[in-house]
């Protein structure tokens, strides 16, 4: 009896030892050599797998980082400079700080400014609508308003404003991952340097038509006033459309004042003269909670209104000189 038990234990142990030896040999033979730094770098990355870096997920980006000799072309927009410095520390390399970017919507053709000329009742997808026809307003360049960018955002950093019919970027949540940019079939959304104190100036229109104001009252008409006004050569007018170079722009706001159609938006600037400290950086504080998004929208509207009244004043002032533009409008 006892010999049977003994035999069983011994034979099973022997079998175990043999299996262990085989496993050991196989494991050694087929061992995957991996740089231990990949694991470390991956841990440092934000693990959102958004693809904003251009690689399919954080793991692939970590491998690319470890494999690269020069890190200057690689950047994680979500983690930003902080994460990249950490990564550089792990890899023992130096990395330059990069300016943070944010998505901007380069269309301000809200319902109010851009009258609907027809009704679209097909599938609720911007790409489908855009492939069918120019859109339900006269402007074939403008936002279709079906919110594909909002669906594409992994960070809940966008929402569709029901009053304007345009998407709004919540700056603090935006990681500049590029998802909305590639989702937009009209190429309206663009990544823009976040700017000093989060302030930036951009032309919120991409319409290249002559006489674009026929279909949208806030379209850029390519009148070049902004370019003439700019002292820093930051404004380029081409194809009846102005474009502000975010890197050259010194945020002086002169172009905003001269724009006859309010197509140039200045964001997060304090109000010009009176009441310092009020609504200095409205988006920062109000955008945290989704419930307070309307406040944020109010702040935006304020900026727009301000610019509108300013421009009106200007037009009144320069009525004689402005004749050409009034004709083109």
């Amino acid at each position: 009896m006892s010999s049977t038990v003994l035999f069983t234990i011994l034979s099973l142990s022997a079998l175990g030892v043999v299996a262990a030896i085989i496993l050991y040999i196989v494991a050694n033979k087929f061992k995957v050599e991996e740089d231990p730094r990949v694991e470390k770098v991956e841990d440092a990355l934000p693990a959102t797998n958004c693809g904003g870096c251009g690689y399919p997920g954080c793991r692939a980006f970590a491998e690319a980082l470890v494999g690269a000799d020069d890190l200057s072309e690689l950047h994680c927009p979500v983690g930003g400079n902080e994460t990249m410095q950490q990564v550089a520390g792990i890899l023992g390399k130096h990395i330059e700080e990069k300016d943070p970017y944010v998505a901007v919507v380069r269309c301000s053709g809200s319902f109010e400014h851009r009258k609907k000329t027809n009704v679209y009742d097909g599938a609720a997808s911007c790409t489908i609508a855009a492939s069918l026809y120019g859109g339900d307003t006269g402007c074939a360049y403008g936002c279709v308003g079906l919110g594909e960018c909002v669906d594409a955002c992994d960070f809940e950093a966008m929402y569709m404003d029901p009053i304007t019919g345009l998407p709004v970027v919540i700056e603090d949540k935006c990681t500049a991952c590029n998802a909305c940019v590639s989702a937009c079939p009209k190429d309206i959304i663009q990544l823009w340097p976040k700017g000093k104190k989060d302030r930036r100036i951009y032309v919120a229109c991409i319409n290249e038509e002559k006489g674009a104001t026929k279909n949208c009252s806030v379209a850029c008409i390519g009148c070049s006033k902004c370019a003439d006004e700019c002292k820093f050569d930051a404004v380029l007018v081409d194809n009846n459309l102005a474009y502000i170079d975010g890197e050259k722009c010194k945020l002086c706001r002169k172009c905003v004042d001269v724009c006859p159609t309010d197509a140039i938006h200045a964001v997060n600037f304090p109000e010009r003269k009176p009441k310092p400290d009020r609504k200095n950086r409205p988006a920062k504080t109000s955008a945290e909670k989704p419930a307070s998004t309307s406040e944020n929208a109010d702040a935006e509207v304020d900026v727009v209104k301000m610019a509108q009244t300013k421009a009106k004043l200007n037009i009144d002032k320069n009525k004689g000189e402005d004749k050409n533009d009034n004709v083109s409008e």
Partner: protein
């Protein structure tokens, strides 16, 4: 009982096997003879009216042009010449709104008189003797800028150039006109039968085939009769009456119906020894080869259930749609949508200023009450879309795959075989936007395939 009898009688006629629907025919203008539309004041001729590369403008602002003069030269093999459809002065070569609502390059001409290029035979005499060799015929068709007038606007000379190793046995002439409302081809067959017949003979000579079949649906019994009488003494040409069924006018469906052959997935009619041309194209070929007249006009049906005078007009290419709607008694007050083409595959137009192009088969004005989609509700998996799909696809599945961006799976499920006939969307009891998403999937998968081929 009567329905049952009809079914038996109907089924004795040929048709395609898979799927298909039968929407209300509404051929309101079937008895209206083709009228010449008066010359417009100005025309806008887009340089891309065909599948393939856009033509390149060869005229400038302020140039004087004559009817039939080449104003844009074809670029490459799959492309077509564009001719001036009027005489007058070029006012601009600039972007203009087209049927899609986007601005595309077009040539605008202010009309003055009606002066034709020399060498174009404008008499009505029938010239039935074909003296040109196949090469000469192809050359003439290429020069005349003829494209498939059924709606796809594929350059015709390409279809006539049979690659080595392929053999064409039969030429199919598409007189099906399965789209409801449209009657342009129907009237053409009735009124210009002899010319169409010569056109068919020219096409046969160019392809060197002995046999041609004209497929016509049996809702056009007068056209069937007329062409049967005309072809009675023609050995190789026969008329095939077909059971009325949408989308029989699709190339692959017509081949199945007439020849009982199936074009393989991703293949061309050539793979089963057939070439298909529309009757309108045959007529244009006759005019180009025998009369030296390029493609500068086409027959357009102007119709709609509340239109005052539904009619068929022979229209110069580039004429604004507005002229057509006015000729037909104006846009009815209750109009909710104006469609270029038929109700099934046509496209809504956003502006009446858009021009008639080579592919415009009809202008349809749909009353407001019929012009909207029903509210979309959840798919109930009834499978009706699968039943009606003439290509044997599973539209509900392709819809989901496109929505979820599973493009590799969509490719496996043969999304590229979809002919976009819209039978699935028409039949769907939940009003799901099936075709919308399939089109999206097709364009995405098409891009992926192209990328892959590049590598």
């Amino acid at each position: 009982m009567i329905m049952f009898l009809n079914k038996i009688l109907g089924s004795s006629l040929k048709t395609f096997e898979l799927g298909g629907v039968h929407p209300q025919e509404n051929k309101l203008s079937a008895n209206e003879p083709i009228q010449d539309l008066p010359l417009p004041k100005s025309v806008t001729i887009p340089i891309a009216q065909h599948i393939g590369l856009p033509a390149k403008p060869v005229v400038d602002k302020k140039d004087k042009v004559k009817v039939g003069q080449v104003i844009a030269q074809s670029e490459g093999f799959v492309s077509a010449n564009i001719h001036s459809s009027v005489s007058g002065m070029v006012t601009k070569v600039d972007v203009a709104i087209d049927a899609s609502g986007y601005k595309k390059l077009a040539i605008s001409i202010r009309v003055k008189d009606d002066e034709w290029e020399e060498g174009i035979d404008r008499t009505a005499d029938l010239k039935s003797e074909i003296i040109d060799t196949p090469e000469q015929i192809r050359e003439k068709i290429l020069k005349a800028g003829i494209v498939g007038l059924g709606g796809a606007t594929f350059p015709s000379h390409v279809k006539l150039s049979v690659p080595k190793g392929k053999k064409v046995e039969v030429l199919l002439i598409n007189g099906v006109e399965c789209e409801p409302f449209l009657t342009a081809d129907h009237r053409l067959m009735l009124e210009n039968g002899p010319q169409v017949l010569v056109g068919i003979k020219i096409l046969m000579k160019a392809l060197s085939v002995e046999k041609a079949i004209i497929g016509i649906e049996n809702n056009k019994s007068d056209a069937i009769k007329a062409l049967k009488t005309l072809t009675a003494n023609e050995g190789g040409i026969s008329v095939q009456p077909l059971k009325t069924q949408y989308p029989q006018g699709g190339e692959k469906q017509l081949i199945k119906a007439c020849l009982n052959r199936e074009v393989p997935s991703g293949g061309l009619p050539l793979d089963v020894g057939a070439v298909v041309h529309n009757v309108g194209t045959a007529f244009a070929v006759y005019e180009a080869v025998q009369k030296n007249k390029p493609l500068i006009e086409r027959v357009v049906t102007v119709t709609g259930s509340s239109v005052e005078k539904p009619a068929n007009y022979r229209v110069r290419i580039g004429t604004p749609v507005k002229e057509l709607t006015e000729a037909a008694g104006g846009v009815p007050e209750d109009t909710g949508k104006i469609v270029s083409g038929g109700p099934m595959m046509g496209k809504a137009i956003a502006d009446l200023g858009v021009p008639v192009t080579k592919g415009t088969s009809g202008i349809l004005m749909i009353p407001e009450k019929d012009s909207h989609r029903d509210e979309t509700i959840s798919c109930i998996r009834c499978g009706k879309c699968v039943t009606v799909c003439p290509m044997g696809l599973e539209p509900y599945l392709l819809l989901t795959l496109s929505q979820k961006q599973f493009y590799d799976r969509a490719e496996q499920e043969k999304v590229m075989d979809c002919i976009e006939c819209g039978s699935c969307s028409y039949m769907c009891p939940s009003s799901q936007p099936i075709l919308d998403y399939i089109r999206l999937g097709k364009s995405k998968v098409g891009k992926i395939i192209k990328e892959r081929q590049k590598r």
